[in-house]
Amino acid sequence: MNKPGNTPVTRRGFVQFLARGTGLVVAVGAAWKANASKVFREVLPSRSIAPGNHKWVMVIDLAKCDGCRDCTRACTAMHFVPPMQEWIKIFEVTDNEAAGPYFLPRPCMQCDNPPCVRGCPVGATYKRTDGIVIQDDDRCIGCRNCIAQCPYSARSFNWGEPPHTPEEKARPYDVEYNYPHRKGTVEKCIFCPEHLRMGKLPACAATCKMGAIYFGDQLDDAVTNGKGETIQFSKIARRGAAFRLLEELGTEPRVYYLPPSTRKYPSPDEKHHTEMAGMEH
């Protein structure tokens, strides 16, 4: 043995070794790529293309919401939403001590910069060209990163096996109505794409008897509520000083709110008061 540590690393040996290694890597890479390009070129984009050229938008007039939760019930009935989940949830919000409380319906915001989509490891939730953030429970692995990501708490999880009904089980699963529900997957409001295909309003907007939820196509520049009133989206957003929830987070929601001014129904405070009075009598 010659000098200690005098081990030669010759270029020839090294290149030989590397050639074998690279050959293997290239072979594996090519095989992977063949499969991947199919996924990339066919499967993924086709999922993101919506059936029509629309930009769905929702406008919720807080001045009209009386907190009856008909929208939640209609949504639950239409999608067979499992118990303890509310895809559109009515919050009773008090911004500060001085301000009176108001009701705030919160569907999924269908953000244009959706944190949930960013964080999903498998593309089980994805943005569609019509603005809807879809949830694919055939693919969801249940890591719940999207729940952690969503600042609007708009996502729910099937912690156990959800109770099933025959009507729910009657149809095969489809992302456009998102049932039958399955254990261990995430659920959310999806703006009822199935209704939209048929030219109907989403269940919540169609049901609201106060006409508080307007829904429409931003490219139509018109939104319609359940009472058939259609208003110009750009006009109502501008004149009504529409705002979006947690705008400062940069999520670019597709749900706009009109401020709860000039209410024509009992405020949450008054409601509680009459309920209490009713209980006393």
Binding site: G5, F14, T129, S153, N158, G184, D221, E252
Partner: protein
């Protein structure tokens, strides 16, 4: 063989009843955890205390904790090896073992947390490099591979030694012989091994830092109060090394007691590591102050609620216990014991006590990071939900699985300590020899960085870019609906000058700015060359709709209201009425942001003189923009985008190249071909060029005067 080595080998051979009892106990805990997990598999995560609001709990806490503990090996072994700290020799193997075993326990914790573990392979089938979860998969798997290699490579000489110990059973000797890869202890092999170890030590340090950084990014990449913090990366890395050091000290103490390793592990080691632990406790204290003061000073919105809950509310008890155990108490104790000479004799118990406090405190600290933030979202969904759905209380299933994780860690450690020598025999032996005979060795003009390595890196890089550049084809643009040309009933007016500011405003929308910040300087040719055509929507021109109201004879009907309305997908937009002028024409100018063609109805509702009449025309407001994903597409795209993929894949790809080089080339291929190597050595004398990356210089700085600055 010395007496102390005989003693060390005894740990491999002799099993007392205590050993069997201990293994039996750990096995029982593990089985109980398995039963709990089966319950969870059958019934779903409903058996845990997690619910929609607090959707991560003990499992994620354990994951972060164990990944943190795994940084022990990196610190003690790699950093101390690179800086050539001599006293590390007897404890490197223990530290490296902790790293491997903690990773083996930590990584499955996320799988246990999954709602659909049956779909685990979706992570590889559909993985999106934009997701922090995938960063973790990439990082942890690379790190685990690296740590196994880093645990295994320095053990090779010991395995060869053990293969020749006749007292061991034959299957074990066969195993050791197989694993020792033909190690005979020649100078050539030693040099190769040194080089492999040094290269691994260098690569494992940035890898370890990156792994705990991406673990922290799972949290820091959210918009949650308390997680939405730029300090999380280094905060987690320091916390990880801190808890890892504590784990090394604790395991050192236990192994010393159990295996009677007093000859190897001395008070010196506890003192040195105690000082390290003290240093890290102070750094960690600094990070804690930084984290909570910046948030607590401003008390912004929801963060205020979080601070209230941590410092004086629901979580105050656990918070202060965690802070006390994790930072204050150990720091104070070690300052007293290590700082004052009269207390030096308490070094071992005090340092071990501190490390136990740090380990427990680190776990509580992880819990404090994970749970209270989830409890405090922007929109708390607590209204009209039962109490259990908004508060988190771990169930027996979660506690059982957590106990099983700890037991599993202890079990692997125990069995591995029985199977492999827990103190590196050849390194401690060599270390002694070197201390006795500090002779100068000839310069080692070895370069492990050969020009040839550039080639595979380039190939791999090209492959990565090739694979990630497989963009999806842009969504096919549907054919534009051609509308029939309508006669003079409507026309588009020229775009008014005062519309321009609005258009400019549109282009400079905040989303655009933000996306540009992310993408413009980096690889986005489309942006660099300024073609934002996709984004640019021509402002819709104002449309003038003119209705002409005439009677049967064709004479204009004047000053009558004509109502204009437009049919949209869901309803009818009412534009109100306009009166007809003297020529019988009523004009409506529509200036909406509307695209596509729509039926417009002009209606005269009739009055005393004239009957009602209406007329429908189709008005074209201009082409609809082609359907596209929003501009933030880089992060939300369903396919890998190079902006995110290239940095990650290049970093971890480099690590894999390094693994292939050190293990595949140096150990597997090179070390087992001594004859060929010797032949080549004669024909190709190595060049006496020292590079900054010379592994030998780093491994043995004392041997060369030029390396003074390295150590």
């Amino acid at each position: 063989m010395e007496a102390r080595e005989q003693n060390l080998l005894r740990t491999l051979q002799e099993n007392t009843w205590r050993f069997y009892a201990w293994v039996g106990f750990l096995g029982a805990v593990l089985l109980w955890g398995l039963y709990a997990y089966l319950q969870q598999l059958r019934n779903g995560l409903i058996v845990t205390g997690m619910r929609d609001q607090i959707s991560w709990g003990l499992y994620i806490t354990n994951f972060v904790f164990f990944i943190g503990i795994s940084h022990a090996g990196t610190l003690i072994s790699a950093i101390l090896r690179v800086t050539d700290t001599r006293w590390r020799m007897p404890i490197t193997r223990m530290a490296e073992g902790i790293t491997v075993f903690a990773l083996c326990i930590g990584a499955p914790m996320v799988m246990i947390d999954m709602g659909r573990p049956d779909r685990l392979l979706n992570v590889f089938r559909y993985g999106r490099i934009q997701s922090p979860i995938i960063w973790d998969v990439l990082g942890v798997s690379t790190y685990l591979t690296g740590c196994i290699l880093y645990f295994y490579i320095p053990m090779i000489p010991d395995l060869a030694l053990l293969a020749n110990v006749p007292k061991l059973s034959s299957w074990r000797r066969r195993l050791y012989r197989r694993l020792s890869l033909g190690w005979t202890g020649t100078e050539h092999q030693k040099a190769l091994l040194e080089r492999a170890i040094s290269a691994m030590a260098i690569f494992i340090i940035p890898l370890a830092v990156s792994v705990h950084t991406v673990v922290s990014w799972i949290f820091a990449m959210t918009l949650r109060p308390g997680w939405n913090s730029s300090i999380f990366g280094p905060y987690f890395v320091v916390g990880a090394i801190y808890s890892g050091t504590a784990a090394v000290i604790f395991s050192m103490y236990v192994l010393r007691r159990v295996f009677r390793l007093q000859e190897y592990v001395q008070q010196l080691h506890f003192r040195k590591l105690g000082l390290l632990l003290l240093a890290f406790s102070l750094i960690y204290l600094y990070f804690n102050v930084n984290e909570y003061l910046t948030v607590g000073y401003k008390l912004e919105g929801t963060e205020r609620l979080l601070m209230d809950r941590l410092f004086g509310g629901d979580y105050a008890g656990l918070f202060w216990i965690a802070q006390g155990l994790c930072v204050f108490l150990p720091a104070a104790l070690m300052i007293v014991v290590l700082g004052f000479k009269r207390y030096h004799r308490f070094t071992i118990p005090a340092v071990v006590l501190s490390s136990v406090m740090v380990i427990v405190g680190a776990w509580a600290k992880r819990y404090i990071i994970v749970v209270p933030t989830l409890r405090t979202p922007f929109l708390p969904s607590g209204q009209r939900l039962p109490w259990q759905w908004t508060h988190y209380h771990p169930t027996w299933v979660e506690w059982s699985i957590t106990a099983a994780a700890v037991a599993g860690f202890a079990l692997i450690y125990t069995l591995m300590a029985k199977l492999f020598p827990i103190v590196s025999i050849w390194e401690t032996r060599e270390h002694e020899a070197e201390v006795e005979v500090p002779e100068a060795a000839p310069a080692k003009p070895l370069r492990w960085w050969k020009p040839g390595i550039v080639f595979p890196v380039l190939v791999l890089g090209a492959l990565l870019i090739w694979s990630v550049s497989a963009h999806a084809a842009a969504p096919a643009k549907p054919k534009e609906i051609k509308t029939a040309a309508i006669t003079a009933e409507w026309k588009a007016l020229p775009v008014e000058a005062n519309r321009e500011p609005a258009a400019a405003e549109n282009n400079a929308s905040p989303s655009d700015e933000r996306v540009a910040l992310y993408t413009a300087p980096f690889l986005s040719l489309r942006r660099l060359f300024g073609s934002s055509a996709q984004n640019e929507q021509n402002p819709a021109p104002p449309i003038a709709v003119t209705a002409t109201l005439r009677d049967a004879s064709g004479a204009p009907i004047t000053f009558k209201p004509v109502e204009f309305s437009l049919q949209t997908a869901f309803g009818v937009v009412d534009f109100g009425s306009r009166p007809t002028m003297a020529d019988g024409r009523a004009q409506l100018v529509i200036k909406d942001h509307r695209y596509g063609s729509y039926p417009v109805q002009v209606a005269f509702h009739g009055d005393d003189e004239y009957a009602a009449a209406n007329f429908n025309i189709k008005v074209d407001f201009g082409a609809r923009p082609s359907p596209a994903l929003p501009e933030a597409g880089m992060l939300i795209a369903p396919y890998a985008t190079p902006h995110i993929a290239v940095p990650f894949l290049v970093f971890y790809g480099t690590m894999w190249v390094a693994f292939v080089y050190t293990f595949g080339y140096l150990i597997l291929w090179k070390m087992r071909r001594p004859a060929e190597a010797a032949a080549i050595a004669q024909t190709a004398p190595p060049l006496p060029v020292a590079t900054p990356f010379d592994a030998h210089q780093i491994a043995r700085p004392t041997l060369k005067p030029t390396n003074g600055e390295m150590s």
